[in-house]
């Protein structure tokens, strides 16, 4: 029952380091991993800056609260690249990042090995800013949470201690809002008090009491100088207390222990009855709010004071924003250093980085590609590398290219970390781990699924892969940028948009349209989407029905989206139009013909919807996510559009005949050739 232990955070982070220092030779040492939470974030960030600056590449990995907001949001066989992007976008927008692994790797020519610094950041979108908060809400996929639990993810640390963040956009918005609050002249908080009226008897009494008290204080101040009333007052033994202090060089009465309502009443009293007193509400660094009634000796002084107080509030606000940026500083660091970022099957990760730390994801894949390149000029995906490069693909021996299996296949010496297995020293890259200035090359890998460890594995795979590609680190000098190496050139900035379909997106040349995409075997213009048909109908039966109506060769195939919807692939796009028209005719006429018609089986119930592929895209672009596809289609409201509009038709045709550019085709050819090779061998 170790699972539900509550991590005492600080001890944990240090215990890893200390134990690794003491027992380097012991092979049962836990993997040294730097855990970072909000308590040690600032210091770690400072160290990380120099580590990233010196690094040859930085591996990253993310843990999220989920992947798909509905079963049909998963990557499907029929997803065109733009639909696929919409699905990734939906995922990145809805789910939260709870852990962020960052692992800089640096070649150490003395030890002839890579030195890695695995960092495991706990991240949580806490609301740090109190003024006008963006409604922060995220989705959790039950199975993903279960998955995290399986690997003993510590949810308490994440939620209690996770580092918060603001995206660049959020920061801009917050600054603007701050500017609006304190920048303009004239808008002052005095307006609010107008709304408050003393209705309750208790309020009236309290106001009277306060008036008397403040009056006494004021006259005491005026008659016997500033130093007079040093003694704090306590009323009725309650927690309320007032005390004479100095606020910005002026005598002031500090108010403590009052409720916010009482404070508002006091503010009202001060505004109404005392021309030379000013009510000030301020927040100090630790966001403790303090309230004062301040004496000013002239109208000019009063204005000055108000301005000073306002400026102070603004400064506090700015500091708060600065603090709230939190984890984004790490992303800014990676971006400004322009280091090679290494991920494993990382398109979704990159999309998360974009939506969490830069700003809202662009509406299309093209815009995304154009924009991401400005922030991260070099990204390499180890999954692409392993699948597309013939040498590596062969080395993988057709085994799975999932992170853990690729790691154990390519880097067995690291996984088991036993000295005996280092039998091919020239083939295996030596990798050391350094955490808090303690180096170790021996540890027990343990099966922990922490982002920091995954990032480490990804980096190891990359280093090993480079080695297999004939990359000589010994001759490689610091000044060379890994990303500019010609051996890697083919693979840089290419990510799997969809692994299952093998769609590869090129981030480098993504300005123009669809020509960076792998050509598709589907003609999307030939597809009809049907939903809400009688649930018991199976794909085969639907195909039979349609074939009866349009001829046996009319339908190429039928795929399920989920239980409630299918894609029907027709032989040509004219049939799509015919089908949708016929469906409409059958629905509008209630005659006996329509009952006997072969399609009536599909239309039974009268709720069946059908639309072309563009409607599917529209459904996917909605931010709503119903679990069942037919509910989604109904909610998005595409039902009324069961006929393709002829205008859109021509546009779509162009889009669907994708031109394959030399660079892309080159990749695909090597990939396919390699597949054949592998099969033959």
């Amino acid at each position: 029952m170790r699972r539900h232990k509550q991590w005492p955070l600080r001890p944990l982070a240090y215990s890893f380091c200390s134990s690794s220092a003491e027992t380097v030779t012991n092979s049962t040492v836990a993997f040294p991993l730097k855990h970072v939470t909000k308590s040690n974030f600032e210091t770690t960030l400072n160290d990380l800056r120099s580590l990233v600056k010196a690094a040859d590449f930085v591996a990253i990995d993310l843990e999220m609260t989920g992947v798909t907001s509905a079963p049909w949001r998963d990557s499907l066989e029929f997803d065109r690249y733009d639909v696929r992007y919409l699905k990734v976008k939906d995922s990145a927008e809805k789910f939260a990042v709870v852990q962020f692994g960052v692992c800089p790797f640096r070649w150490d020519s003395h030890t002839q090995s890579f030195v890695s610094h695995p960092h495991n950041f706990f991240v949580f979108p806490r609301q740090e800013l109190t003024f006008d908060p963006p409604a922060h809400e995220f989705l959790c996929q039950t199975t993903s949470i279960d998955f995290l639990a399986k690997y003993q993810f510590d949810f308490n640390t994440c939620i209690h201690e996770g580092i918060s963040y603001l995206s660049r956009r959020q920061e801009e918005d917050a600054s603007k809002r701050l500017e609006m609050l304190y920048g303009e002249e004239g808008i002052d908080s005095t307006v609010e008090t107008e709304d408050l009226k003393l209705v309750r008897l208790s309020d009236v009494l309290f106001a009277e009491r306060m008036k008397k008290m403040i009056n006494e204080w004021r006259s005491g101040l005026l008659h016997s100088g500033n130093a007079s009333s040093e003694s704090p007052r306590i009323s009725n033994g309650s927690t309320q207390s007032t005390e004479t202090v100095f606020y910005h060089m002026r005598p002031a009465l500090s108010l403590k222990g009052f409720t916010s309502h009482q404070l508002r009443v006091i503010k009202l009293v001060v505004g109404k009855h005392f021309g030379d007193l000013v009510y000030i509400h301020s927040n100090d660094k630790n966001s403790y709010s303090q309230d004062f009634v301040v004496y000013t000796d002239s109208e000019y002084d009063k204005e000055n004071l108000m301005k000073e107080a306002k400026d102070e509030r603004k400064r506090v606000g700015e500091r708060k924003i600065q603090y709230a940026i939190g984890f984004r500083q790490v992303i800014d660091l990676l971006s400004s250093e322009k280091k090679l970022i290494v991920g494993h099957n990382c398109f979704l990760d990159i999309a998360h980085v974009y939506s969490k730390f830069l700003g809202p994801l662009p509406s299309t894949a093209e815009k995304f590609v154009a924009s991401i390149n400005n922030h991260f000029p070099y990204i390499v995906d180890t999954k692409i590398l392993l699948n597309v490069n013939p040498v590596l693909h062969q080395r993988m021996k057709k085994s799975s290219t999932s992170l853990s299996s690729a790691f154990s296949l390519l880097c067995p010496q690291i996984e088991f970390s036993s000295r005996s297995s280092v039998s091919f020293p020239q083939q295996h890259v030596k990798i050391e781990v350094e955490v808090d200035n303690v180096r170790s090359s021996n540890w027990n890998a343990g099966g922990k699924h922490e982002a920091g460890y995954d990032a480490f594995m990804t980096g190891c795979i990359f280093a090993q892969a480079c080695n297999h590609l004939g990359f000589d680190f010994k001759q490689h000098s610091q000044s060379d940028h890994l990303a500019q190496n010609e051996k890697l050139d083919k693979y840089i900035n290419r990510l799997y948009l969809s692994w299952t379909r093998g769609d590869i997106i090129n981030l480098r040349t993504g300005h123009s349209n669809a020509d960076n995409w792998r050509v598709s075997k589907f003609k999307y213009g030939n597809i009809v989407l049907i939903w809400n048909f009688p649930r018991k109908l199976k794909a085969r039966e639907i195909k039979e029905c349609i074939c009866k109506a349009f001829g046996s060769a009319s339908v190429t195939s039928v795929y399920h989206v989920d239980d409630s919807a299918v894609f029907v692939m027709f032989k040509n796009s004219e049939l799509v139009w015919d089908f949708l028209t016929l469906k409409q005719q059958l629905e509008s006429s209630d005659g006996p013909v329509s009952v006997l018609h072969p399609l009536s089986k599909i239309l039974e119930g009268g709720n069946t919807g059908a639309a072309d592929y563009e409607a599917y895209k529209e459904i996917c672009s909605s931010h709503i996510s119903k679990i069942v596809f037919s509910d989604q289609a109904e909610t998005v409201g595409v039902k009324s559009r069961t006929r393709p509009d002829p205008q859109g038709e021509t546009e779509r045709k162009e889009e669907n005949t994708v031109v394959v550019t030399p660079t892309a085709s080159d990749l695909i050819d090597t990939f396919l050739a390699n597949r054949v090779e592998a099969k033959a061998g």
């Binding site: 509550q6 806490r126 039950t142 939620i159 704090p232």
Partner: protein
């Protein structure tokens, strides 16, 4: 020196204040001790008069205007609660069955940790759920243990999900006798041929079964071969035959045909992965007695399976079947959640919800309602404050925690979870002593939920409640930013003749305000003028040019009904206006609300 002494005094005063919120030992129930505790809970419920419950959720509303407010009719309140109930998750369900004897309250508090684990791998009980980051943060501040919740939370299935899962769990189930009797469409030639083929196959197989029963002396090899030849298999210790099917129609035909052999053959349905029937399994019975035994065995397996998947819902069923009055803090949000998670999908309108709910929970006491009757100014959302507001009444209540076998460890933080339910029972006891009402008035409390949709009046200011007809409410949005209600009121006053009469303005969120006309007819004039720019002049014309829009209550209702839950009300109303053409409005519900300032958004709280 003196100052320091005094400040330390004041801080210690603060400490005693928190200590005064007495901490009772609450039995914490998790996955590991759930089944063991179940009997104890049953006894607790049986021996108590009332049941108090309180929920800890992952969120309540995503945007300011999603909160139920005074401008809502029962239907829109319900839709808001429904929207929240469908998205958020219950992480803790604290339950306190209690009895009252004069001033003594005997409580049996339990706190259940819940987590919707997908134990059947079927996307149930919930595929995903939303979390409000701020809610989780404040829970963390109160010492909530998320690891316990996720690792050791009890899962559950709703009643609706349980019946759906029965088939999907993969265990063969008895064919429903009702489906057998309903012979639907006339048999086609293909049907007849299919039935004939299956019938002869079943006949042969049955014959061989009968023979093998008589010839017990067969050696294993022979019986094995025979089984291979006939395609006969074994189901447990009994012989069976599996017939694959391609459609539900075929299942129907086979079941009808099987009735011919009903003496010694029992048909079972085997589900395929995609929700349909994969095959029919005919099981051979050696005797009538064997058949009864077999059916009982199946029933037992099913019950055990159900018990397993039902999980925490067992407790909800216990509460429901006890028919005892249930005390909750917030009727609408608590019971929409309970309905959505443990009964079934929420119906689309409030009347159906009420009737569906009252069949499961006939007696529900809405504590906030009860509170309003006694102390109209108190706010029940903060329980300790609500409790202390009753201090002016003399109503002593001694709480005695009567949980058996519950060790009290004073320092254990997690023991403190689930205090709310005890506090609710205490508050209820106080209120009841004050009210001196006998049980009979409480029993009929289902009517005072204030949610029946035929309620024609609603109020607006809490301190001087006035009823407003919905016709006199106008939503205005697209205003210049940074405007307070009083400022807006001043601007409006001079902008149009309708504002010469008395009217009120409140912000609902930062994007949208509501104008209340106290005289009928003015709202229509205003809306039609705003939509007709030529007729306008002066400041209003300017505001309209800058994007001011106005619309009646219908637009708001439609936004709620169609589920346009945008972050800002203005966006939702825009969407609602756009969609008005495809709308058929059938609502004939409440036409008035209670207008009160209390519910309008207070910017200090944001």
């Amino acid at each position: 020196m003196q100052r320091r002494f005094l400040s330390s005094l004041s801080s210690s005063a603060g400490n005693t204040k928190t200590l005064n919120q007495a901490k009772w030992s609450v039995k914490q129930v998790k996955k590991s001790n759930f089944h063991l505790t179940l009997d104890e809970i049953r006894t607790s419920i049986d021996s108590s008069e009332f049941i108090a419950l309180s929920l800890q959720n992952t969120g309540s509303y995503a945007a300011a205007w999603h909160r139920v407010s005074a401008i809502d009719t029962p239907q829109t309140s319900y839709l808001k609660a429904k929207y929240a109930a469908e998205r958020y998750q219950i992480l803790q369900f604290s339950l306190c069955p209690f009895s009252l004897h004069d001033s003594k309250l005997i409580a049996h508090p339990y706190n259940f940790h819940l987590f919707p684990r997908d134990e059947l791998k079927l996307g149930m009980p919930s595929y995903s759920f939303s979390c409000q980051a701020s809610r989780l943060t404040s829970m963390a501040r109160e010492g909530f243990d998320f690891n316990t919740c996720i690792y050791e939370g009890i899962s559950y299935l709703s009643r609706a999900q349980e019946s759906a899962s029965k088939f999907l769990s993969g265990n063969p189930i008895l064919a429903d006798p009702i489906t057998v009797s309903s012979s639907s469409s006339p048999a086609t030639v293909a049907d007849t041929m299919f039935v004939g083929r299956i019938r002869s196959r079943v006949k042969n197989w049955r014959q061989s079964c009968i023979e093998s029963r008589s010839k017990t002396g067969d050696d294993d090899l022979v019986s094995c071969l025979r089984r291979l030849v006939l395609g006969s298999e074994q189901y447990g210790s009994r012989l069976c035959l599996t017939i694959d099917v391609c459609s539900e129609r075929q299942v129907q035909l086979i079941l009808e045909m099987m009735t011919e052999f009903s003496d010694d053959v029992v048909p079972l349905l085997v589900a395929s992965k995609s929700k349909g029937t994969q095959s029919v399994r005919a099981v051979f019975m050696s005797s009538k007695k064997d058949k009864d035994l077999f059916k009982r065995e199946l029933q037992d397996i099913e019950n055990e399976e159900n018990r397993r998947v039902r999980g925490f819902r067992e407790v909800v069923d216990l509460i429901s079947s006890s028919q005892k009055p249930v005390v909750s803090q917030n009727y609408l949000s608590d019971f929409t959640l309970i309905h959505a998670k443990f009964l079934g999908p929420l119906p689309s309108n409030v009347d159906d919800f009420n009737s569906s709910l009252s069949s499961a929970f006939p007696n529900v006491v809405d504590l906030s309602q009860l509170m309003k009757e006694i102390s109209p100014l108190s706010n029940i959302s903060n329980l300790p404050t609500a409790m202390s507001s009753l201090n002016r009444f003399f109503a002593p209540v001694d709480v005695e925690v009567a949980n058996q076998g519950c060790p009290v460890k004073s320092n254990e933080v997690h023991q403190s979870h689930g205090q709310n339910a005890v506090m609710l029972s205490q508050l209820f006891a106080k209120l009841r002593t004050i009210q001196k009402s006998d049980l009979s008035t409480l029993q009929s409390n289902e009517d005072c939920q204030g949610l029946a949709s035929d309620d024609e009046n609603v109020k607006v200011w809490s301190k001087n409640n006035r009823r407003v007809s919905l016709e006199n409410l106008v939503f205005i949005w697209g205003l210049m930013k940074k405007m307070t209600a009083s400022k807006l009121k001043n601007v409006l006053q001079t902008s149009h003749p309708v504002f010469a009469q008395e009217f009120d303005v409140k912000y609902l969120d930062k994007s949208c305000a509501i104008v209340v006309f106290w005289e009928s007819g003015l709202s229509e004039t205003f809306i039609s003028d705003v939509n007709n720019e030529e007729k306008l002049d002066g400041s209003l014309r300017e505001m309209v040019a800058e994007g001011l829009r106005a619309s009646g209550y219908e637009t708001y209702k439609r936004a709620c009904r169609l589920g346009f839950w945008e972050a800002e009300l203005a966006d939702s109303l825009d969407k609602s206006l756009e969609s008005s053409d495809m709308d058929l409005d059938l609502d004939t519900e409440a036409s008035e609300i209670d207008w009160s300032s209390e519910f309008a958004i207070n910017f200090d709280e944001l």
